[in-house]
Subunit: 878 residues, 2 copies
């Protein structure tokens, strides 16, 4: 005979914590507590197999169930020394759901089962507390009528039970439920029952057994309620897991001043400090704590009021922590000085707390380092790594946009990128506010404390660039009306002028008026300790994407082991060099281009010198020019005219050239190594700048390890031609210098075709770096700049499990990544392989990169610790 019912807290407990799949989380933990000898009101769990059976057999139970439940009730009665349905000595039950994984609020609960008029009267006699008993009864009828019998308000009507309750309070001239008398509640019970009869044509069942089975059925049915199904779809919980049902004797904290109820954490869930943290109410029920009618007292104060119960609770906490080796979130009730444990589970806590708890637990010898590393969710570190606001709560909220790049920034408003640069160079803190940003704004974005845009999504230019810079950004704040001509913005009735202070929260998307105090990032000792442990475990390298010596330093401070992506195009925009760049682009022949490039070369060289110094002894992967030239040319007439004057040509000529560079799909246009093929002199200049910089710093005692990366390769020949050219230039310079310098030449794999032909491509590349941003764009056929019009809907509808620009699509893009890695190493076994898309800082994607066998991931500086942790976890999961 199959076993469907598992006792706990009775003479013998059937289950334990390992039986979570069968008994659900709540049931397994109740059994475990009972096994540990803790005082648990007796009860039993109907297993998830019954739920499965219920749905597989047209909503019916296994035939053995009734008998097993009956037997279990007898056992509970024996332990609790009361009888279910016996008016003389009534036992009441609660019925609660409990799935493998907590689905808070998704399924139904019924309390106080086992009351009818006769039994309630008996209970009054036994307890001597009439008001208490009729309140229980009133709650039962209300809850049962709703949950089990399905009495719901119609249309926009208020809940019928609440209507009756309100009416009663009005009639009595009172405001709160607990001001109603026992008699009032007794009347309400009858009124509730009458309402049920009237609306549903059925009577409230007086038979306790009927109540019990009705409630069990309601819980199983609620597993397939709309809310629960939707929740499981979103969370990816299989529908066939099913829920268990916990039937447990009621314990009461509201039977007098020797009773109490409370919740507590075994450690402080916000700081992680190792001390009990929680609150309680004397003479109260659990619901009262939530309702907020009375202010609960801190848990420490329980000691003075009920010293024995408190001591017992502290002991229970310690026992459970030692047992589970995790912070516990506990519910308890004290009934006439006697402690009853109602629930224990792993406590939710802040990221900072988690870090402190796991490192403390290692020190306490509770867990080992590997467990500590496993316990911290890498993405939870995110906001430990960025500045945050000390909010007073009185801030004026100007609007809310998308939390595009986390952090907190405060500064004076400027509306133009060049102004941001000027003000910043004068030592002013500024927030750059734009309708949307463009590559021309890079300098200003860099100079600003933060970026705020009125348009664009999580993958807009502003958002992507800001994340890359680790700069706070709120994007697509639709409430803003920006008037560039007047240098002001209006929003929600406020007008903000140039120079006014605002504060933006890139973690919440909020925009606030004035200067809000920010709190800088400081790493706790615990955090640093944890990172060291992660580094000891992981095998995957972690590099950073950084374009400036400053970013490189920050990232190194965060533990980056090199630069995986240094974009050279950002350097093209800075200061005066954009003029030389434009001169180069607008030249009609190679000679003209070479003349302009000669002006840029020394500036590029200086950039690289700074970066090599910051990364002394670590590899620096530098990507040669990638964006289409159209991004560099002036698009506004005034700038075109200025340009024409400077170059001494006709403005029409400038305009024609700019127009000729426009593309229908610039993402798929004349960019990357295609520029290297058609204008070899550009890459030649860049390679020269890289190698000359490396030579210079080497002479100054710095160890430079340049890795030259050729972007957007789609054919074998492109790479063959360009790497030969690069080696020719580099080889000549190194030979002439007499310096001992080694360098690599490799390529980005970001075109699907390159992944497919990786074996041939690897013949010409010393390393691969997967550019998964572009690879995702092309593999899906999604333009990151445009996908905002449908991608959110795709994720919401579950067409895609996640935004593939944030978490690597293992199923599709991942196939190309593993194929590329495998084929590449087939023809070059020592091929160095990394990733430099935004995915390099996403924990799931980092795990995938480890699994694929990459050598390193590269991510924005602030994500380096996240990647380090994720990489260590990947090893532990193996």
């Amino acid at each position: 005979m199959s076993k469907y019912v598992y006792l706990f807290g009775t003479e013998k407990t059937d289950g334990d914590a390992s039986m979570r799949n069968l008994l659900g989380g709540k049931g397994a933990n109740l059994a475990e507590m009972a096994n540990l000898g803790l005082p648990v009101p007796a009860g039993f769990t109907i297993s998830t197999e019954v739920c499965t059976h219920y749905y597989e057999h047209g909503n019916t139970y296994p035939k053995e169930l009734e008998e097993q439940v009956e037997a279990a009730i007898r056992e509970v009665e024996k332990t609790m020394q009361a009888e279910f349905g016996n008016p003389k000595n009534p036992l009441l039950f609660s019925v609660r759901s409990g799935a493998r994984i907590s689905m808070p609020g998704m399924m139904d609960t019924v309390l106080n089962l086992g009351l009818n008029d006769e039994i309630c009267a008996g209970l009054v006699e036994k307890s001597g507390n009439e008001r208490f008993c009729y309140d229980l009864y009133r709650r039962l009828v209300q809850m049962y009528g709703d949950v089990v019998m399905g009495l719901r308000p119609e249309g926009k009507e208020v809940d019928p039970f609440e209507q009756l309750l309100e009416k009663k309070k009005e009639a009595r001239g009172v405001e709160l439920d607990n001001q109603l008398s026992a008699e009032d509640l007794k009347e309400l019970v009858q009124e509730f029952k009458a309402e049920i009869k009237k609306r549903l044509g059925k009577d409230f069942p007086e038979d306790p057994k009927e109540q019990l089975w009705g409630s069990i059925g309601a819980v199983f049915s609620s597993w397939n309620g709309n809310r629960a199904v939707r929740y499981r779809e979103i969370e990816g919980i299989p529908h066939n897991w099913g829920t268990a049902v916990n039937v447990q004797a009621m314990a009461y904290g509201n039977m007098g001043d020797d009773c109490a109820t409370g919740v507590a954490f075994s450690r402080d869930p916000s700081t992680g400090e190792n001390k009990l943290y929680g609150e309680f109410l004397v003479n109260a029920q659990g619901e009262d704590v939530v309702a907020g009618i009375r202010t609960p007292q801190p848990i420490e104060e329980l000691e003075a009021i009920m010293p024995e119960a408190y001591a017992e609770f502290v002991k229970a906490c310690n026992l459970l922590e030692q047992h589970y080796k995790e912070i516990q979130d506990l519910e308890f009730t004290i009934q006439h000085h006697r402690l009853w444990m109602l629930q224990t589970r792993t406590g939710k806590r802040t990221a900072a707390a988690t870090v402190k708890i796991v490192t403390d637990m290692v020190d306490e010898g509770l867990i080992d380092k590997a467990t500590a590393v496993k316990r911290v969710s890498p993405s939870s570190l995110e906001h430990l790594l960025h500045p945050s606001f000390n909010r007073s709560g009185d801030e004026v909220i100007l609007g809310k946009g998308l939390p595009a790049s986390p952090g907190a920034a405060t500064g004076r408003v400027v509306f133009h990128a060049d102004e941001a640069e000027t003000e910043a160079s004068n030592g002013e803190k500024v927030i750059l506010v734009r309708l949307e940003t463009s590559p021309e704004d890079i300098g200003g974005m860099h100079a600003a404390e933060g970026i705020l845009t009125a348009r664009g999504g999580m993958t807009s230019h502003a958002a992507v660039v800001a994340r890359g810079m680790g700069k706070c950004c709120v994007a697509g704040c639709g409430d803003l009306r920006i008037d560039y001509s007047k240098d002001l913005l209006t929003t929600n009735g406020y007008t903000v002028k140039k120079g006014d202070w605002i504060s933006i929260d890139g973690s919440t998307g909020e925009v606030m008026l004035g200067q809000v105090e920010t709190q800088e990032v400081t790493f706790s000792e615990d955090f640093i300790k944890l990172m060291v442990w992660a580094d000891e475990i992981r095998t995957l390298g972690v590099r950073t994407n950084a374009d400036t010596p400053h970013d490189a330093e920050v990232a190194r401070g965060f533990g980056a082991q090199g630069i995986g992506l240094c974009r050279t195009e950002h350097m093209f925009f800075e200061g005066d060099r954009i003029k030389a760049v434009r001169e180069m682009i607008l030249s009609n022949d190679e000679e003209g281009r070479r003349k302009a490039l000669a002006k840029i070369e020394p500036m590029q060289r200086q950039d690289f010198e700074g970066i090599f110094k910051a990364m002394d002894g670590l590899p620096v992967t530098i990507r040669l020019l990638d964006p289409p030239l159209h991004e560099f040319v002036p698009h506004e007439t005034s700038t075109q005219e200025e340009m024409a004057r400077e170059l001494g040509v006709d403005v029409a000529e400038i305009k024609a050239k700019v127009d000729s560079l426009a593309e229908f799909n610039p993402m798929l246009g004349h960019r990357g190594c295609r520029l290297g093929i058609t204008y070899p002199e550009i890459y030649e200049m860049q390679v020269q700048a890289i190698i000359e910089a490396a030579i210079t710093v080497t002479k100054a005692g710095v160890k430079a390890i340049p890795e030259i990366m050729i972007p957007l390769v789609g054919t074998v020949k492109e790479l063959q031609i360009l790497q030969e050219k690069a080696r020719e230039v580099a080889g000549r310079l190194i030979k002439d210098s007499g310096v001992n310098l080694t360098y690599l030449v490799g390529t980005m794999i970001e075109i699907p075709r390159a992944a497919l032909l990786a074996d041939q491509i690897a013949e010409h590349a010393e390393f691969f770096s997967f550019g998964t941003n572009d690879l995702t764009q092309m593999t899906f056929g999604f333009s990151r700049d445009d996908a905002g019009s449908f991608l959110p809907e795709y994720v919401a509808k579950g067409i895609l499990p996640k935004d593939p620009f944030q978490t690597l699509d293992e199923e599709g893009v991942g196939q190309l990544v593993s194929m590329g890695t495998e084929r590449g190493r087939q023809s070059r076994p020592d091929l160095k392989v990394g990733i430099c898309g935004e995915h390099g800082g996403d924990p799931d994607s980092v795990r995938f990169c480890h699994k694929v066998g990459m050598d390193y991931v590269s991510c924005s500086p602030f994500r380096v610790p996240i990647a380090r942790l994720a990489a260590a976890q990947a090893v532990l999961e193996d």
Copy 2:
């Protein structure tokens, strides 16, 4: 001892036609003719292995070579009864190159080798024709000085030998070379020699042996001359094949009136008619025919002049044709009534001739049908399938653009698409002339006879759409200056106004003034016969891409077995419906969209009815809406204002909506099934129109076989949702109608991710159609609209062997196509698989599709016969 020298025409011939790789084409055919007993001047071939040895061993010969050459000379002398270098009875040689594959004009030739002063005097005595002898001698010195000794004009100087020749003619007061006397030529020989000595410091070699070896070396060297290397790179001929050298006794057609020389084809190379076709000159050398000093006579007239030689030649022609079973291109010389065959090779001929020849040869029993089918190059059919011009040669050429879509069209110039429609509906023939076209011009493009643009490449909008329509198009004619405001264009000094006649040749790119007579396509009986044979052989189906009943009918006439791609968006532009489409797009809610869609539905239904009728009994694959909505909205202020008036909304609202639809990379934007997901009502309307149309025609006795195709699928869920919806709509309509109608629902595979996940996608698709245009764009990361700025350079530099938008890139994109096919059939073995990109009409790509195991290819109507033939050849190649 290795054999390097192969005799022919001597007592024993060493080679034969099968030894083309070793002896080159010319040498192998000379040997074959000798074997057949035809009169070939004796000689020998130095094999290609010597060439290979020559380049692998620092330009030296195998040591055995000299001895073998000496022995061969002895054999030739024996046969020709003359001696090389013997003044009493001199034998002269020609030295010619001969590679495996003909490389016309790329390598060197030296004639009349073996003369010096003494030998020439001897030859005069023997031949009794002094002028003839000194002319040979003069030619030798000139040719040898140039080819072997390297005497070339300096800078812009005229050839030094030509200068001397001119001077001589001037001094003699004559105009033509052949008016010079023997004495003049004798003087020239000495003057030529002196010039060589003066310029090169070396003497012309008097020793015949030295002349011979010098010439042999010159031929081998010319294999690696710049011209030859470049030619091989373009044609894809391996550099290591090498050339053979043919040394052959000279025969002379210019020793008197009983001599002649000529060339002939065994059949008419322009019509294919089975009669000798060629011309000859009495008392002349080969060069004289080319020089054009005298007009050659038709070959038939030779019969009257030299009946025996003629008879012998006719016999030789027949023999060679019977032997090679191919049209022969022959060279011959008659020396004192004696026929000498100098060359035979497969004759080049027009496509029309090829068709006639191969079908005739089958009738004659010379070849079988399979051979006939194999012989015709599918791409050569191209211009049999399009109208062409009957040119007089006097046409005024206004300019030359790219031959973007073949055919010939003549009409009156219009500059606006709507005018093209109006004029065409008045029965006027028009040519639509635009700077470039946009999707808004579709209606006008359809109405016009042909399209001419000033900008854009082979893959511009105009070019792609025109090819799809099978409409003549010249694109990117840069000479045109179009002034829309004045309705005129200027080009090369001409002004063409609206209403003026022009003619455009889409096969050459020429634009001509006025009406040039065109010749319509008619299929010869032979052509039809050949196609029937191809159909008997092929296993691959051939469908067409057609959007209108007219195109469908044309394609059916060309043998299409169904429609593989019917694009619905073109229908959205026609006539008044674009207004309803715009109303739909500009609606702010589903209700508004449904209202507008209800107006479009009956029109779409009518379109489909027409197409189903035209394709009675054949499948019709209809693609649901694909382009981004931005393509449909008005972009000009005036149209926006009109729109605003009609819809009764503010123009600013229209403008804002239009702006909001603009995308950075529309190719990768909100289009295809992404529209179906976000606006399900659009696809719903289209499915309704398709199924209702099918029901209507079925009731009228037509067999409709609709295949509903969902475009741009990249995720499994997209297809799952959309196909379920489509089946729901279709199922309901069919059930309600009571009609017996079957249909399929499938998808395009055009996103790389879809190919990678084809196994899962096939679970929801009854057919796959590879959209290789988009698949190529995304796999390469090339935007077809923008690739013009680098793709031509890529092909020219050999980075890509071919334009991947014309011929499927088997190496890269092909991997995804075969992977997609294989994986798709893994989960659905009866999956129907086809291709509907432009590659469906490209012969190489058709072969690939056959190899991959597709069920059909689909191409533009005019390419259907090409695909049928290529598909048959693919079977024969297996």
